[in-house]
């Protein structure tokens, strides 16, 4: 996960010979103009971690707790990644939480009750997500019901479907080794390092190739120092994280060893890379931004707006399915509350805290990961400090409200300074 605050895709420097200073002045003026991007999430993350580290130095800063953060926040983050697509169109999917519950229940039924192998169950869960998303998308795009109402109805109905699928209140355990491993096992330390090296080399190659390609054509490029800084920044962050995760976390090494990167982490990173690629580098992604920015303009440009609107709901529900699989894996079971209670609000909160606009047209998949980290840190830190669930909910609610205010205010500021 990269937490560099520098946006990769920001407008290039105005001057034809860009300097590092110019680049950062440019970035600062954009922030002042209301284009804050992921800055609030990154700052919030730093502040929260500092506060919790001071209050609970031994427990919050332990390697075990750090690994916990990832498995705790994984399901919400995955659902939030899908929600970003819906939010980009200025729509909302309130049913994503229970959609993940339905998909998890399908998974549990297929693997435990029917006894099929894990991959059949995973395919069935994701297929369920695709069906749910297609239905929601059709109702929104073709019939024209506001997404708020469609997905609110879905929220209720899917809650019922989960109840029906798990036979009225019992729970179905998930015992399949592969499925349980997703959220409960770790990569071997060497494999963790190998994948990290691969990720850094891949990122560096993409960045340097793009820089060279643009420079060769005489286009404005970011200064090479900024590119290098990004690569080094990513390497430092990934390297530190993997180093800490590879420390021994077991309380008693003689009984069992516990170290390595949790398996959900590479899953999230791969999905982050794939969806970021789709949004930033394909015309489909470009069209999502266009429909979110100005639907009429998109229609006149020959973009099939209905198809785009349906497809984002499909992506959202499919990601919810993956989130549901991770949740089922973490709990080792599926019960009527899987994907329920605060999961949806945490997911919407994660996307918005990360910098995705509720007004559409602005947001990145990375936002969901950063926001998911903020939500996970709050939940985790407050738990360590012994606060009750009530206090946690209130704090998370306040943080969500803060994030939405930042979104609304930065929008107003941007309108005033003409940068949006």
């Amino acid at each position: 996960m990269t937490t560099t605050a520098v946006r990769k895709d920001g407008p290039a420097a105005v001057t034809p010979t860009p300097t590092i200073g110019g680049h950062f002045r440019n970035y600062l003026s954009r922030v002042r103009g209301g284009d804050v991007g992921a800055l609030p999430a990154v700052l919030g993350l730093i502040v929260l971690c500092t506060v919790f580290a001071i209050m609970r130095p031994s427990s919050f800063l332990s390697a075990g707790n750090f690994a916990n953060l990832f498995t705790q926040g994984a399901a919400v983050t995955l659902i939030a990644m899908g929600l970003v697509f819906v939010l980009l169109l200025g729509e909302i999917d309130l049913s994503a939480g229970f959609a993940s519950g339905v998909c998890a229940a399908v998974l549990a039924n297929v693997v435990t009750v029917l006894g099929y192998p894990w991959w059949v169950a995973v395919l069935a869960a994701v297929a369920t997500g695709v069906v749910i998303g297609t239905t929601l998308g059709m109702l929104v795009a073709k019939i024209g019901i506001p997404s708020f109402v469609v997905t609110l109805a879905g929220f209720l109905a899917f809650q019922g479907v989960v109840l029906l699928l798990v036979k009225e209140g019992t729970n179905i355990s998930v015992r399949d080794d592969v499925l349980v491993a997703i959220a409960n096992r770790n990569l071997a330390p060497t494999l963790g390092w190998g994948l990290t090296a691969l990720a850094i080399i891949g990122y560096a190659a993409v960045q340097l190739l793009r820089h060279r390609n643009r420079a060769a054509r005489g286009l404005i490029t970011d200064p090479i120092a900024v590119v290098a800084l990004r690569i080094v920044g990513l390497a430092v962050i990934l390297g530190t994280a993997v180093y800490v995760l590879n420390l021994e976390r077991s309380r008693n090494v003689l009984i069992s060893s516990l170290k390595g990167v949790p398996i959900v982490v590479p899953i999230i990173v791969v999905l982050l890379v794939i969806w970021t690629f789709v949004l930033q580098r394909t015309s489909y992604g470009r069209h999502i931004y266009a429909v979110g920015g100005n639907r009429e303009a998109a229609r006149r440009a020959g973009i099939d707006v209905d198809r785009i609107r349906i497809s984002v709901f499909v992506i959202c529900s499919s990601m919810a399915a993956i989130g549901g699989i991770v949740a089922a894996s973490r709990a080792n079971s599926v019960d009527p509350n899987t994907g329920g209670s605060n999961v949806l609000l945490y997911a919407v909160g994660a996307a918005v805290i990360g910098g995705t606009s509720l007004f559409g047209g602005k947001g990145r998949v990375l936002d969901a990961v950063l926001g998911g980290a903020v939500v996970a840190v709050i939940e985790n830190g407050m738990g360590l400090m012994g606060y009750s669930a009530g206090v946690k909910y209130v704090v998370t609610g306040v943080v969500l409200l803060l994030a939405a205010s930042v979104d609304a205010l930065s929008r107003r500021r941007a309108a005033a300074t003409g940068t949006r």
């Binding site: 407008p11 290039a12 105005v14 580098r281 394909t282 015309s283 920015g293 020959g302 949006r420």
Partner: protein, 272 residues
């Protein structure tokens, strides 16, 4: 006057339910010329443009493009012929940058990956070809541009596709004096580059400043199509408001009452 008109419309009829909006409309547009399309509110200018651009199907009539009969059934058909429309509300996405907007819906790709460098280069060349120097960075979001710059981008977007006919719907309506001058200059340059331009405007100063020909619509009928040099300001206003001016326009009063006597008494223009 060029030999073959680029676009020729004959006998276009268009109704929305019981309301007949266009009645036997004829229009010729020549390459290298700016044809101003004038008319009062509700005269049918926007409907005519939407028929040309394929948004509305016509009820009757023929389209000739370069002398060949063509059928325009959708915006894609129009785009394939090289007809581009710049709408009044610009149809730009505020959250995308200039290059992204110019290529919206027709992105250049390498396999499935967007080919950003090529798009940026082509956009830069197009803007340079139109002598547009008012934008500092091609990668700035459209939201940060002034009204005139947005209009410029919208026009450049239309020109990018080797278009042959560019239709501008009130391009100067929301602009200040200096920006209006810039945009009109650009409109003139388009025609001088050999494109056919149709300019819809309410502003007579704009019309007389850049147009070569004036086509006047009155209550869904094409009442006159004349060279700009052959007509006066006052006559155009009369054509717009009354449907005729001296020897120009409707021969007899088409049943619309009130305006008739005034038009009949007016000074004779005696052209055509």
């Amino acid at each position: 006057m060029s030999a073959t008109p680029l676009l020729e419309l004959r006998g276009i009829d268009k109704s929305f339910g019981p309301v007949q909006v266009l009645r036997d409309v004829a229009l010729t547009v020549h390459p290298g010329e700016v044809t101003a399309l004038v008319g009062d509110n509700g005269a049918g200018k926007s409907t005519l443009v939407k028929c040309i651009s394929g948004i509305h199907p016509t009820d009757a009539g023929e389209f000739l493009f370069n002398g060949e009969p063509v059928h325009i059934g959708s915006p894609r058909d129009a785009a394939a012929l090289g007809i581009e429309v710049v709408y009044q509300d610009l149809a730009l996405c505020d959250n995308l940058d200039i290059v992204q907007n110019m290529f919206l819906g027709r992105e250049k790709r390498n396999g499935i990956v967007l080919d950003e460098p090529t798009m940026e280069q082509l956009a830069a060349e197009t803007l340079a070809g139109l002598s547009i120097r008012t934008v500092t960075s091609l990668r700035q979001h459209v939201s940060s541009l002034s009204g005139g710059q947005r209009q410029t981008v919208a026009i450049a977007k239309a020109v990018l596709w080797n278009s042959k006919l560019v239709i501008l719907d009130e391009p100067t309506a929301a602009l200040g004096v200096a920006q209006t001058a810039q945009v009109l200059e650009l409109v003139r340059r388009l025609a001088d580059n050999g494109l056919a331009v149709v300019l819809i405007s309410h502003n007579m100063n704009d019309v007389f400043a850049v147009s070569d020909r004036i086509a006047a619509l009155y209550l869904g009928q094409m009442v006159a199509q004349v060279k700009t040099t052959d007509i006066t300001h006052a006559q155009v206003v009369e054509l717009i408001t009354a449907g005729r001016s001296g020897g120009l326009g409707l021969a007899t009063d088409p049943g619309s009452n009130g305006d008739g006597p005034q038009a009949a008494d007016s000074i004779s223009g005696g052209v055509r």
